[in-house]
C-alpha cells in the first residue's frame, strides 16, 4: 500500500493562536480515518490546510507523492481532494443538478456527456436523484448534507474529507448517511472524517486520530485509541456524552 496523503510537520498559527502544531501523519490509499477532538482542537483548520484554503506557517502537504503545499485549492480539487463542510454551503441559487455539475465539469474536468453520467451516478449513490431540479436553497438539512457529499463525489476524488457530516441529524438520518458513506468507501475512495458523533465514525473508520490544541495526541486502532488514558482525560473528560 502506498501513502496518498502525508502531512509533514504542518503548523499554522494566527498571531499567538496555534491551530496546527507540527502535525505529521500519513494516510494510505483506501484507508478510512476518523478525526476527533474537542471544539477548537484544530480539526477543521487541518482540513483547510489540506484543501489549500489555508496556507501553513511551516510544513508541507504531500498528495500522491507530490508536494502540493504551494498549489491553490482549485488545483488541489482537480488533483483529487474533495471536502464537505460542517455547515452545508450549496450554491443556493442553482439547482441541485447544476451544483453537482459544476463539480463534475470543473473539479473532475469532465466533458459534458461524461460529466452528466458522473453526476447521475453520484446523485443516485447519495439518494438525491429525486431532487435534481429543485433549487439547492430549498433542501432540508439532511438533503443539504447529501448535496455536499454528492458534489464532493462528482469531482471524482481519490481523497474525500468529511467535516462533521453527521452532526445535527436524527439517528435514522444518521444511519442512512453511514450506509451511503460505507458504499462510497467500498468504491476505493480514501476517507478522512471529522466527527463528534463517535458511533457513526466507528461504523466506518479503521483508524482514529485525536487532535487537541493543534497536536495529535493519539493515533491508531479506534477502540485502543478511545480507551487510552490520554484520550479519556483530554477528550472524553470534556465531551462526556460522546
Amino acid at each position: 500500500m502506498s501513502n496518498i496523503l502525508t502531512c509533514d510537520a504542518l503548523s499554522k498559527s494566527f498571531g499567538s493562536v496555534v491551530v496546527a502544531d507540527s502535525i505529521s501523519f500519513s494516510i494510505e490509499k483506501g484507508e478510512a480515518v476518523g478525526i476527533i477532538g474537542p471544539n477548537g482542537a484544530g480539526k477543521t483548520s487541518l482540513f483547510n490546510l489540506i484543501t489549500g484554503t489555508l496556507q501553513p506557517t511551516s510544513g508541507q502537504v504531500h498528495f500522491k507523492a507530490q508536494d502540493i503545499t504551494p498549489k491553490n485549492s482549485a488545483t488541489r480539487c482537480r488533483a483529487g481532494i474533495a471536502r464537505s463542510f460542517q455547515i452545508p454551503q450549496p450554491f443556493a441559487g442553482m439547482s441541485v443538478y447544476e451544483n453537482v455539475l459544476v463539480a463534475a465539469t470543473h473539479g473532475a474536468s469532465l466533458k459534458p456527456q461524461q460529466a452528466q453520467a458522473t453526476c447521475i451516478d453520484a446523485l443516485e449513490q447519495t439518494g438525491l436523484l429525486a431532487r435534481v431540479n429543485d433549487l439547492a436553497g430549498s433542501l432540508t438539512l439532511l438533503e443539504r448534507k447529501r448535496l455536499e457529499l454528492t458534489r464532493a463525489l462528482a469531482s471524482n476524488p481519490s481523497l474525500l474529507l468529511l467535516d462533521e457530516i453527521a452532526g445535527g441529524l436524527t439517528d435514522k438520518e444518521c444511519q442512512s448517511l453511514i450506509e451511503t458513506i460505507q458504499s462510497i468507501r467500498a468504491t476505493g475512495v480514501t476517507i478522512v472524517w471529522i466527527e463528534h458523533v463517535v458511533h457513526a465514525l466507528l461504523a466506518v473508520v479503521e483508524r482514529l486520530i485525536v487532535l487537541d490544541f493543534g497536536k495529535i495526541i493519539a493515533d491508531g486502532e479506534p477502540n485502543t485509541v478511545i480507551n487510552s488514558q490520554v484520550v479519556r482525560e483530554n477528550y472524553m473528560g470534556i465531551a462526556a456524552d460522546a
Binding site: T51, T53, N72, S73, A74, C77, F85, G93, V102, R151
Partner: protein
C-alpha cells in the same frame, strides 16, 4: 403621433443604454465589482473602432470583428493583473482602483486622440429608415435595439446553459466554495471581465456611430448605465434592458416637452423609482 414617435425613439435608445449597462450588471453580479471606469472603457472602444475603421478603411460595424476580441483581451488582462489584487469582501478597494483607472483613461485618450469630438460614419445606414404609417424608424437605432436584445439573450443563455455560465453563477454564489470545486476564481473573474468588455466594445461602436464622442464622454455613459442597472434591479439582465428602455423613454418624453429636459427627465424618473423601489423593478431573488 409626435408622442408615439418620441416614445418609440426612447425605446430604441433604451437598447443602447442597456448595452452600456449589461457589462456593468454582469461584473457586479458575478464579483460585486463596481467598475467606475466602465464609461471610459466604452469611449475607449469607440476610439478603437474609429482607428480600426479609418486605418483599414472598413465599415464601422465591421470593426467589431477586431474591437470585440481586443477589448475582451484587455478585460482579461486588466482583471488578472490589476483588479484581482484588489478583490476581497470589501467592495471599496476595486471601486477606488477603477476610479483611478477612469481618470487615467480619460487623460490618455485626451493625449492620444485630442479633445475634438469624433463620430463614425456608417454611410447609407446613417439616414436609412423604414416608414410605418406616419412613423419613420431609423434602421440604425432599430439595429442597435435588436443587437441589445440579442446580447442580453445571449448572455442569459450563456449563464444558464453553458459550463462557463455555471462557473460564473457558482463563483457569484460563493467564490470560496467554487474554488474548492476546481474553479480558479482569479481565472473566472478575469473571464467575466473579458465578457463584460466584449459587451462594452459593442456598446462603444454603437455609441460612436450614433452620436459624437470625445475623451470626456465616459462618465455620462457610466451614469446612464448605472441608472439602467438600478432601475431594472441589480444582477437581472432582462431587468437591465427594461431599465434602459424606461430611461430612454423618459428622456424621449422629456425632450418632447422641452429640449432642455431630455437628460433631466431621465434622471428624475430614476430618482423617483429609486425612492419607491430601491431594489429596482426586478431584483434578483434574494437567497
Amino acid at each position: 403621433m409626435v408622442w408615439v414617435n418620441s416614445i418609440l425613439q426612447g425605446v430604441l435608445l433604451g437598447g443602447l443604454y442597456a448595452l452600456f449597462a449589461a457589462g456593468l450588471s454582469l461584473i457586479f453580479g458575478i464579483m460585486r465589482l463596481v467598475n467606475i471606469a466602465h464609461g471610459d472603457l466604452i469611449v475607449l472602444a469607440a476610439f478603437l473602432g474609429l482607428v480600426v475603421t479609418s486605418s483599414l478603411d472598413i465599415h464601422p460595424l465591421a470593426s467589431l470583428v477586431v474591437v470585440v476580441p481586443a477589448m475582451a483581451l484587455l478585460g482579461y488582462l486588466l482583471q488578472y493583473l490589476l483588479l484581482n489584487r484588489t478583490m476581497s469582501d470589501d467592495i471599496l478597494p476595486p471601486l477606488l482602483v477603477t476610479f483611478g483607472l477612469s481618470v487615467i483613461l480619460q487623460n490618455v485618450m485626451l493625449e492620444t486622440f485630442s479633445a475634438d469630438p469624433q463620430k463614425m460614419n456608417t454611410g447609407a445606414l446613417d439616414t436609412a429608415s423604414i416608414t410605418v404609417g406616419a412613423l419613420h424608424i431609423g434602421v440604425l437605432p432599430l439595429l442597435m435595439f435588436a443587437v441589445a436584445i440579442a446580447v442580453i439573450a445571449g448572455l442569459q443563455w450563456l449563464f444558464y446553459h453553458t459550463a462557463i455560465g455555471r462557473a460564473f453563477r457558482a463563483t457569484s454564489d460563493n467564490a470560496d466554495i467554487a474554488q474548492l470545486m476546481g474553479l480558479n476564481k482569479k481565472h473566472v473573474f478575469s473571464l467575466a471581465m473579458a465578457l463584460s468588455l466584449a459587451v462594452v466594445a459593442i456598446a462603444g461602436i454603437f455609441l460612436g456611430t450614433k452620436t459624437s464622442f470625445d475623451p470626456s464622454s465616459g462618465p455620462a455613459r457610466l451614469i446612464f448605465g448605472f441608472e439602467a442597472v438600478i432601475i431594472g434591479g441589480l444582477g437581472n439582465l432582462w431587468g437591465t434592458l427594461f431599465g434602459g428602455i424606461i430611461l430612454g423613454v423618459a428622456q424621449g418624453i422629456g425632450a418632447q416637452i422641452h429640449p432642455g429636459l431630455q437628460q433631466l427627465a431621465g434622471h428624475l424618473v430614476f430618482l423617483i423609482l429609486l425612492a419607491i423601489r430601491p431594489n429596482g423593478l426586478f431584483p434578483r431573488v434574494a437567497h
